[in-house]
Symmetry: C2
């Protein structure tokens, strides 16, 4: 058996990076020694905080793989978020919590559940196979769930996620509320990024009927702090709209303390956001009370109103 | 929560029918009371033998469902084998052991493993959730695994399937070799079928590059017994080729005792079968020693040679 490459989606978030590390640990414990954790992009500040805290190295950066390579995919089943020659590699496993968007020509191990975080499923896999979760792995898993569920406050959070966090925090010997807030705050540090980078940190492309869109998101502990950059953000957004011929760019500045988002929305179809949330964009911006989850509170509503 | 409809593929085999019954039992045990076992076609002789043996009714025959209905899909993830308005129903779960061929617009519970039978995965689900498997359910599950793996002899059979059969036969208090052979033999009784029905019992359509094909299979305890109908089978095959404008019809008569298949192959691209198995079709027929699994020993080889 050759090497197995494990990776999550491009623009990796904490769940994608941690899933590639945790899945490698899981595979080794299951007897598959020759596995390698990989990533398809830069590690973000929040993830960096976690890896430093635990003392674990970043997964290896890859862009592409040889045809025929064996891979395990985590935290996505969307070919658009993966390597270009996906159809020429052999997918051995997928563990994910998103929609099903890829097809295969062969049966494989596919495990998806509609929970808040891939690590909640990984936690079940360890338990089902009677494998030990050590302190480092528990801390990593815990961090990913806190990240994806915004400290269990996101509407994507399920009872399974809460249960996993509580049990993992015992193994990790961590007060998860305190640790989680520090971790989330670390992810809100935008000081070292250019405007272009901020707009790209967690940007996803969508086509809603005829509307070519990007919906990007940053977390913050203070919306006014990010809004200081409003003029520059708008310039950056307009540049991307022009370059990519977009109809809509919705930028979400999500307050992780109070669970609200401020949006800066531009593009000739900005009206979709006004219609979807029954708000008026004043100078391209509006507060969306209670909105924190792109998956649950943005994509379905924009889809419906596009 | 409304009713949940559970069904497997069209032209249902024993695994598809039993999976819809077993999944309903599983869901009820998990607290989802309002579930209904369904089927998308006629129950075959083998399945009939099992249902009579256990004393369980056939699932309800359906052809279609209302838009918005909630469904659980078992033993397939191929939209072509399912209801016509699949994209308008809400798929809550999929449990399967085939390739991934459908996409969804939402996250769902998806559990696939490359094992010999869906029931081997269902067996794991009961165990993972600490649910009791009663004697009837154990007999049903056992029967499906024996059916899909031809009494653990098919190349699709994995150690997980063997383990499940051994443990389930204890709960069922059944000598599985003896029972399994009787069950498989019951499935080979073609006496009540017309030629057209025999060719349709387990027929699947494929497109190999430009080659429109059907690969159909029947099990038998005696190849010569089925070959007595050769002339009529050929007439029937040629009729289907003409009606459906096919390039290839490969009919497999599989000897479940000795693990061989005799093929009757017709169509202008019958040469693909000759090339694939390095055999000469004499009067449209050839013996394919050791070939029993369409999934593992036919589809990949025909795909490669088409």
């Amino acid at each position: 058996m050759g090497k197995t490459y494990i990776f999550g989606h491009k623009n990796p978030d904490t769940d994608s990076i941690i899933s590639s590390i945790v899945m490698a640990d899981f595979e080794r414990k299951m007897g598959n020694e020759d596995v390698i954790s990989c990533r398809l992009g830069m590690v973000n500040k929040e993830t960096e905080y976690v890896l430093n805290y635990v003392g674990v190295q970043e997964p290896e950066l890859i862009e592409d793989l040889e045809d025929g390579a064996e891979v395990i995919i985590v935290d996505t089943a969307n070919p658009g978020e993966l390597i270009p020659n996906l159809s020429n590699v052999k997918i051995k496993k997928i563990v994910d919590h998103h929609q099903v968007l890829l097809n295969t020509a062969y049966p494989l191990f596919y495990r998806a559940e509609p929970v808040g975080c891939t690590e909640t499923i990984m936690y079940k896999l360890y338990k089902e196979n009677n494998l030990e979760i050590n302190k480092k792995i528990a801390t990593l898993m815990l961090s990913a769930i806190i990240s994806d569920t915004l400290l269990l406050k996101s509407p994507t959070c399920t009872p399974d996620d809460v249960k996993a966090v509580k049990e993992l925090s015992k193994i990790a010997e961590i007060e998860y509320e305190k640790y989680g807030l520090e971790m989330l705050k670390a992810g809100t540090d935008l000081s070292s990024f250019t405007i272009e980078q901020i707009l790209n940190l967690d940007a996803k492309s969508y086509k809603f009927k005829e509307t070519n869109s990007i919906i990007a998101q940053v977390n913050t502990a203070s919306i006014p702090e990010v809004m200081k950059m409003k003029e520059d953000l708008e310039k950056g957004i307009n540049k991307i709209i022009k370059e990519k011929n977009l109809d809509l760019f919705m930028f979400l500045i999500t307050d992780i303390i109070n669970s609200n988002s401020q949006t800066i929305t531009l593009g000739r179809r900005a009206d979709i956001v006004e219609k979807a949330y029954k708000v008026k964009l004043e100078n391209n911006t509006a507060l969306l009370p209670g909105v924190v989850s792109r998956k649950k509170q943005v994509i379905p509503i924009i889809t419906e109103n596009a």
